[in-house]
Symmetry: C2
Subunit: 440 residues, 2 copies
């Protein structure tokens, strides 16, 4: 299980040194980072900072000249260099590996869009840009397997801790369909206040702050409920929430296409940041779909890594074996959905087996590998004569896990029973209506 440490940081040049304790380790430092890295030994550390730290200098630190910015990339680089300076100069006595960790990327400094007027910089824009950007960064940088994420709130300011918590809850909740995901939230006891401080801390009557666990949860799968502009993607979202395995395989999104959509929007966002000296102005926020796209992107990353089956999706036609395997993988933590979708998939197999054992045209066509409407196979196998329906009720569509006999083709290929949809437009419509018709 991989372990990631995530720390939102306000202005580190304001922090005073004290001994932090966590998990049996004690280290004197201006931040919780050294002791957390020492105790947790995370594979990856993400430090979330804000662009409002550009040009920051407190009591002469860091020893970096302020700049007259022309491009947003310069702002980001400036903040990164200041945070690097802090890590290398203010933490390093207790934290000798920091330079190497920065070099090999184990420590990653994220500079996210902030808002506010400060003497060093003035940033105008939407507060929510932070959330969208954080979600994007996490969706690309978080490992996509079983995961333990530690979020330390100690040094975060304003909206940072709450929005990072929200982003992690959403992303780990979607990964939790397939992976084991744990989220541990930490917070140090507060720095002693109201006491006079001196170099030897002789007047501060406390010398150790304990870092405490504020939350420790194993995440449950959390479906996505937002509809997006792209109808195929919306059908895919519905397939996950409602247990529609053949919709899932038919409209499984391509990772690269998702990445392109997301990167294009991010590029547009960055292009629309005006930078003029110490004035930064963001004229364009993110679209409503952006959050959902990043979540799906992370989900597909997790799926493609977890099992080779997903690498072969989307597929127009899939075997019942594949659908059964899929149901077991995706819905293993949602018992009810697993049990009922599996039963519905198996019933189709049983019916096909029954049809093959009977004498008749349908049997012959099946044996010849012809694609047949499943309703015809069903009527043949069960000696029924249910007519084709003109209109399918979305409620029936959901109640049968999307496996409506009017809508499915059946074909035999060697030992495999292959299923495919008859009419994609109708399936997309039903998948969407079954999720977003009556309620928002």
């Amino acid at each position: 299980m991989e372990r990631v440490l995530i720390v939102p940081w306000g202005n580190p040049f304001q922090w005073d040194s004290i001994t932090y304790e966590y998990g049996g380790c004690r280290m004197k430092s201006s931040s919780t980072l050294p002791v957390l890295i020492n105790a947790l030994k995370p594979e990856k550390i993400l430090i979330f900072t804000l662009d409002t730290l550009a040009n920051i200098q407190v009591r002469g630190k860091p020893d970096i000249e302020p700049k007259d910015f022309k491009r947003y990339s310069e702002v980001v680089e400036d903040v990164q260099s200041r945070i690097k300076w802090f890590i290398e100069n203010e933490l390093s006595s207790d934290f000798p590996d920091s330079a190497e960790m920065l070099k090999d990327g184990r420590i990653d400094i994220v500079v996210a869009p902030g808002v506010g007027l400060f003497k060093n910089i003035n940033v105008e824009g939407d507060l929510l840009d932070f959330y969208n950007y954080a979600l994007y960064v996490l969706s690309t940088k978080l490992p996509s397997n079983n995961l333990e994420v530690y979020l330390d709130l100690t040094h975060g300011i304003n909206f940072m801790p709450t929005l990072l918590y929200r982003a992690l809850n959403n992303l780990l909740g979607i990964s939790a369909f397939i992976n084991d995901c744990r989220l541990v939230v930490l917070n140090s006891e507060p720095y002693p206040q109201g006491f006079q401080r001196d170099e030897k801390e002789s007047i501060i009557p406390i010398t150790t702050l304990h870092i405490r666990t504020v939350e420790d949860i194993v995440l449950r799968p959390k479906p996505i409920y937002s509809r997006v502009e792209d109808n195929k993607l919306s059908a895919f979202i519905s397939s996950l929430a409602n247990g529609l395995p053949l919709v899932f395989t038919t409209f499984y999104p391509e990772l690269n296409e998702l990445k392109t959509l997301i990167d294009e929007e991010l590029a547009e966002f960055l292009k629309n940041i005006e930078v003029n000296g110490i004035h930064i102005s963001r004229s364009r926020g993110f679209s409503n779909d952006f959050k959902t796209l990043t979540k799906i992107y992370y989900f597909i990353r997790c799926l493609n890594l977890s099992h080779e089956m997903f690498g072969g999706l989307p597929k127009e036609e899939v075997s019942i074996d594949t659908l059964e395997c899929l149901v077991e993988l995706i819905f293993k933590k949602i018992r009810r959905l697993e049990i009922i979708t599996k039963r519905d998939v198996r019933q189709i197999r049983d019916t096909i087996k029954k049809a093959i054992k009977k004498e008749g045209k349908i049997r012959d066509k099946l044996r010849a590998g012809e694609k047949l409407l499943y309703l015809d196979v069903y009527n043949f196998a069960k000696d029924r004569s249910i007519p084709k329906k003109d209109k399918i009720d979305p409620r029936d569509f959901v109640a049968h896990s999307g496996l409506i006999s009017d809508l499915i083709y059946v074909r035999l290929r060697e030992d495999d029973e292959l299923l495919s949809y008859v009419d994609y437009d109708k399936v997309i419509e039903l998948s969407i209506k079954s999720m977003w018709s009556d309620w928002v």
Copy 2:
């Protein structure tokens, strides 16, 4: 729709005055409270503070003598009086109604357990006590109907914003089964920093801070997944997550019993807070079940208010009409669960109707109002002879919405078909196993 404003507050005596803007209102104040009350006109305002504010005084404010505390209730009263002083003296010029709002309880000052060493007070204990206590306060003070909650993070410190956000997400998520719940998270732009301040603000180059929306969501129903010590309650929890309507009505908890359990634990928590001068030490935290109990308590409050049917629960025997009504109320926002549980309930009614139309002993017994095993009625109606099973698979139990024919009695009373369980212990066991057997 009722509207509640929730504000976590750090130390208000450190805040400087500035003009805040929100929803078209602008007011100069040391906090966001006046402009938010003016713009939102909430029915209720909850100010969350920490007991670490006891005896606080900054630059001579508030004008209240520090105390030598003997009891925790004195600590709470001290913090409340200081916060009242702040509201009445530091906000009132722009906020003339504040005294009245405090008197009539529209503004409620919550003093929650904190942690930390400060010159004014020293509090030792578990950081998580804050979360448990906040959950308790919210579960009793939040209105139990359709609700809009505004959470303003601006003045919160440390873990307060994130834990209140988490508590609200959980409580509104459980209320969302039956109510429309909206959560809006706000945050002001940060106070300008690095500039010299004077009384006329002539050197601060900004005079207005806009309060921004950080999140605005309509909550989806969020089931509880934690098992508790009390097996009947665990069965009830499973009934909500898995769609087991007859388990729901049979094991519906009594509001008063829940309240007693919760209050007893809270009393124990408070009793174990040692207070000695300015030293406060909490030796006992909350049990693991406490969080879950407060969530169920709030859920039952919401249900009992929403429809008279719930006031009559728990019931050993309920009509199919009641079950149908229940399914429509509880699962209206979880389409798949609504569709399938309703179908399963209706199939029982159809079978009973079929049985009544046939000649035979079972029909006669039904007409005479006798209680019969549903399996016998089913076999009679369908000319089948399915034997009673010795062992029931939890997977079958879930797949049939808990309505397994071996486990249910049927009885006719006038026009009503009444259902009840044969064996409570077995039903409790199956409800629990179907939720907590394979995964945690």
